[in-house]
Symmetry: D2
């Protein structure tokens, strides 16, 4: 049973709550296990690709179950994005910021994390955090590759449509990560058509969501 909202928009439904409740209840999530050798293998595969620089040599660690309905998860848990990044000594990840809060766990390597003009050294097994909307830049040094797990509350903010990103640094690159079209986190690679444009066309045509 799917009722029409006669006077409003077709994607705005008025429906019996009791039968709707079954859609509210989510399927259960299975536990996750990602072994280090598989994470490292993924990073090494990316490292063979010459287009992948220090910003992009990054694997996402995802639980397909942590999504909504039939849509696979957009993170390792419903609220959290988790990734692992490889930075070679001498490389940097240039300054950028986002309104998700980041937590870093250094697995290997040494170097510097600069947050809003203050620099701290990092070393294996340290936990570091970068607050929301703080510019931060990584610089790896020493002899060993830097390998770190990165955890953000980005899945929560992507789901609630509140996520902002600025990369590279620059007022013109501040983007709301729904309306500001881009295939990736850097603002330099726009989509041909933004999701917002698509939504506007759907609205003008009165198309209900799938």
């Amino acid at each position: 049973m799917k009722w029409t909202n006669e006077s409003g928009y077709p994607w705005c439904r008025i429906t019996p709550a009791e039968s709707f409740f079954d859609h509210v209840v989510q399927h259960d999530t299975r536990p996750g296990n990602w072994r280090w050798k598989d994470v490292v293998a993924g990073l090494h595969k990316l490292d063979e690709d010459p287009r992948m620089d220090s910003e992009r040599r990054y694997v996402a660690i995802v639980n397909d179950d942590a999504g909504l309905g039939e849509t696979p998860g957009i993170g390792i848990t419903p609220t959290l994005f988790c990734g692992c990044q490889l930075i070679h000594p001498g490389e940097r990840v240039t300054s950028h910021r986002h309104n998700s809060v980041a937590l870093y766990f250094i697995v290997q390597g040494t170097g510097e994390l600069e947050v809003e003009g203050v620099t701290e050294r990092y070393e294996p097994f340290s936990i570091m955090t970068c607050p929301a909307w703080h510019y931060h830049e990584w610089r790896a040094d020493g002899d060993a590759d830097t390998l770190m797990y990165v955890i953000h509350d980005m899945a929560l903010h992507a789901y609630t449509r509140s996520l902002f990103w600025e990369e590279p640094k620059g007022q013109e690159n501040i983007r709301h990560v729904v309306k500001g079209a881009s295939h990736t986190w850097t603002a330099t690679k726009p989509l041909e058509q933004s999701k917002t444009e698509a939504a506007k066309q759907m609205r003008d045509q009165g198309v209900p969501a799938k």
Copy 2:
């Protein structure tokens, strides 16, 4: 490109973050408009069904766009469930509780809201709230039907798999609303197979999520 997590579970992916980011970015949400006459029409349709008692004479007000990926929204916004309830004078909605916080806007009617043993009268255009996990019971009186909008942060808790419900009152009816199977919010109507049982079977068979 979808990489295998060789040593772990097949639903646990390790994947290039850059291409994965496109899945993180959600489509835009179109604005919503639900007119009162359509809400009331929905409630009157439910009222004609003799199986619908005061607990179940409830419409959900949903924005299909407020979901994740292709999955339609489970609320009026990504975090909020909104419904409208009709209670006839002399009826009650018996005591129950949930760990979502509820906000009520009374459109019409008078009566009592009892929260954890303390009773307050309600009247048109009042705003009332019921804290998480407080028992509450509605009793309509006067001459007019009670009509009220109900707003919960239930969509957030359903998405994060943290939602709990106890209805009807009774320790044996405390349910985590993922693992405790039920087609509706009352514990008295179990599913034939719970979503948890389904997830266990998938895990034992190593089935990846869709």
Copy 3:
């Protein structure tokens, strides 16, 4: 017992989890009841102040219990801001946007809500929503004052430091509502010193948070 994080920052604690858990557990929230005549009285008091224009003729509806520890709530529930706004016929609330999602309940009055270039009429008892980061503008008409309840997931975004605001419309007014100092939601009234500047000074001086 409060341990020093010897090598890190003094506001970064390492502490026994068991005794810390008592700080994690929050006090209970008492139920809320705000009657319409008190809400209207508050709005009329604001209306007598000639400095209060249509943007600012707004009361916040707050539950002091919905905060963290001793800090009073910043909303009507831990996740939700609730306010009530009064707009006289012929007035407008000019275009602005925020990354919190807004839900409107019209109590009285008629007029137009324009969201990203599309205009809908509003009427009493309608529910309307404005998605995150959509420009929107209100224009009241008819004979009666417009009175509406406004509900945002703003308390959640303020707590997680993810809130953005742009008011008035203009790229130069996009503000992260922690780092972009302002006493109010419009960018035109800056604080003498921003909270970010204060935090930087504290960091440079190694001052622990209270």
Copy 4:
């Protein structure tokens, strides 16, 4: 200016939104850095206390800035609790569950994690997750101590008053972690007076929150 809600409860305020907005804006969070040698030192200090068994040999890693207003943070970020746990070979952390989702990063050691009847081995640098409300039990083996970082979305659920815990396993130990009083996560150590009882007394006396 603090207005009275004449007809309602004294903790339910109606107040000018513009001046209230200054309370909504949170102070900035300073970045965090917790070095491994300090984390380990904290764990070894706990290990000297014979009352600290495997469940309780746990340090919390906290950023004081990540709270609300003057209240210090209840996690490492506004949404996340982070801890580090030490389990000696041969010890176990017996079965329990919570509706926060847990993410584990194994720094050192080997052993087994059993989640809802299925056992996986763990090894250094693996990432593992335990879904909301799944029973889980740790068993350390091998020669080295197990040291692991544990990250939960517990700070989010504590703030929103949605947190549930069951420890030790047993229907009678299911607790809403606001109303079910306990100084720690195990249900076996009740407070002399629960926060709920305190809130009820305040309500009966009409006491406003501080």
